[in-house]
Amino acid sequence: MLSAENWDWETPEKLIAFADWNENFAWIEEPHVSCDGEKIAAIVNIAEGEFSVCINGETWENAFEKIWYPRFAPDGRLTALVSEMGEWTVAVDGIAWENKFGYVWNTLFSEDGNHIAVAVQQDMAYCMAVNDTPWQQSYSNMTNPLLSSDGKRTAATVQVEDFGEGDIQKFQEGVFTAALDGKPWNTKFVNVWKMAISPDGEKLAAEVRVSLYDYTIAVNGRPWDKTFGCVWEPIFHPKSGSVVAPVRTEGAWTLAEDGNLIWDRRFVQLWHQMYSPDGNKLAAIVASKFGKWTIAVDGKPWSVTFKDLITDAAFSPDGRRIAAVAKDDQKWKVVVDGAVWENTFDMAWKPVFSPDSKNVAAKVEKNGKYTIVVNDRLWGHECETIWDPIFNSEGDKVLLRSIEDGKYYRRVITVNDL
């Protein structure tokens, strides 16, 4: 990630025209902005079957027959999936990778943006490619592509044996496994779903089905010695490297660590478990009763519950606080440490903590207009589009990236000014 410290936190407002790009192109697609807010980009149609990307009013030198999925990497480079002469690849700042493929999708970035990975199909064989280098092995199918946060490892579910449609016996014997950097585990499973890579990059854990009815977690190919009625995706403890996953036992959900149940309470649902950054706290989204959703921290649910949904939970950097988005009767809400903000929204995005953990901000929508809300106070601008707010390292300023009246604004405001 571009170090936020080096960004421009002084200039209160910068403006880049956006709507008038329209004049030069048949159409422009949804805009995307860089983390530091200095760049706004969109796919543009130049002529029939001819596309490019326009950044801050300038188009890439190269045009392509097709372009989709433009995404800024955390380091500010702009990637897109591009096609020429029926082949696909990744273009980074307008330059296509040398390797071309039958198809590419699902762009993934490492935390610092240095590593860019995609899922690849070539001649109906599947693999991943990182920084223009495909895996050495490819498979007849691949799903659940994953890039470790340091960008050094890639993983996915791969199909290691062929079977015909209707061959239920073969399927039930197990034809799937997980591959780390392209190398498959030795063990085969009926299914392999979402996975996690350990912080040191040495271990890969995945939710697996060992028969049509028995689920467990496999780590580096070895299943836990217990099976469950169902499981959801595992995570690693940030320090110890132990594996924690939701498991269903006797019709209710709880958490298991390395196969052993660790929470006493049982829930109607439990998923999206997460450790605080120091690994001292463990929280998860739960349904404490049917249709009553909340967050449980170290096994204890908040007293506030929501009927529809709770999602996008996050620990504060100091691990003491948790913020999430909740929904009740079509109203979206922000909830922090079990307390619901008074403002409600037509939509709310994942809340963001300041680095000092004191402030919480989120992008929200009300009556078709977008703004941000910081500590339950609304910013007074009604924007056509806005992106997630970003705090400076001191936590006293917020970077706002928005489109108003067809113009893109990069603004820095102090939290106290809100």
Binding site: G102, Q121, Q169, F171, C230, F290, G291, D308
Partner: protein, 445 residues
Amino acid sequence: MAEPAKKVEEKKIIDEGLEMGTEKLTQDRIENVINRVLKGESGARLKAYVDTCIHCGLCSEACHYYLSQDNDPRWSPVGKVKQTLWEMIKKKGKVSPDFIKRAAEIASTECNLCKRCAMYCPFGIDIAYMMLVVRRINHLLGVTPLYIQDTAHSHAATFNQMWVKDDEWIDTLQWQEEEAQGEIPTLRIPLEKEGADIMYSVIGPEPKFQAQLIYQAAVIMDVAGVNWTMPATPGWDNSDMAMFTGDNEIMGRLKRAHFETAARLRVKKIVMGECGHAFRSVYDVGNRWLGWRMPPIPVVHAIEFYYNLLKEGRIKIAKKFEEAVTLNDPCNVSRGGGLHDKARYVVNAICESLVEMHPNREYNYCCCAGGGVINCGPPYKMKRVEGNRIKAEQLFAAKARGAKVLIAPCHNCHSGLEDINHHYGLGMEIKFIGDILYEAMEKPA
């Protein structure tokens, strides 16, 4: 009627899935699974049904199988329970492997879970629920018809019904976008557009065999000026055969992916194509298994979506469809979802003349394809078609009153009625509402 509805000799059907599963059964396992499900999973609701039923048989007249099989009691709703669940309960799970195989055949291929019978039972007993309990037992015993089991495998491996690979899905959408740009040059199928109002979701067969339906939907969205998106990840398929094999865990996994995809895209609603069983899965069964009383992101069936577009004038009709149509009310969206009047509003808005079939609305007969029955594949095709002579008669009557085209706003109905159409020589054309709406609507010149 082209083919007399005489009862043909019942042929023994060999289903590899059932044979294979039955071979592996042991008495212990059967007993264990049955008692586990009866005590641990189905509990009070099942007990209430079993205790309440007075064996009066009033439900029989509701069932298209019973009516089509000359009122043979073995095809009656309560007869199906008698041959399956009651025996299991009475014998406390001590039933033979062959009994299990037969129970699987009855629950999976002789009941569409259409719930028509529940409306005729004085106590509202839901036979479909009991048949689902039988299917759940069969799933846990590994005795499920091959074709639908294979489909459940596809769901588990790819999160869609048709083994569509991740890239094939996106590629199909881009191909349909390009095709549709031939008609409307600026049309887009916006992929992964976070913050769109609507996520449009379809069932696996659309990208696999019926990509024109995606094309038509894209034109409708574009002309109506809808802010919409489609996901470029698994979670796009709203269908759910796992719900019908009793594989609740895979059902839950599919629905979780569907709703979390919609939540990730920050849409306000999911609009789904013309499918009935998928509606039941996202609106009732799948969401509830996960702990959601209602869908966490509201789900709008295509019928209701078209209704809103027409009512609000966002779609205008250039020329109504001229041939007289009749309308098949899909069980899951009419009896299950109450959309029958909205369907009539839409059909009347886009067609010159609607000839009602009788009975209709929530009392309509099932197409006999639903509930996963058509997904049990070719071995059961004749049983399914002969099991719905009553539907053919219903359609012949509508035809006699002038109906030429049959509208079936559900994928399963569509395919099942097509088989009935051919077998009984009805000679009707079958269409989705979207086919006609696309033809009839005003489009940019």
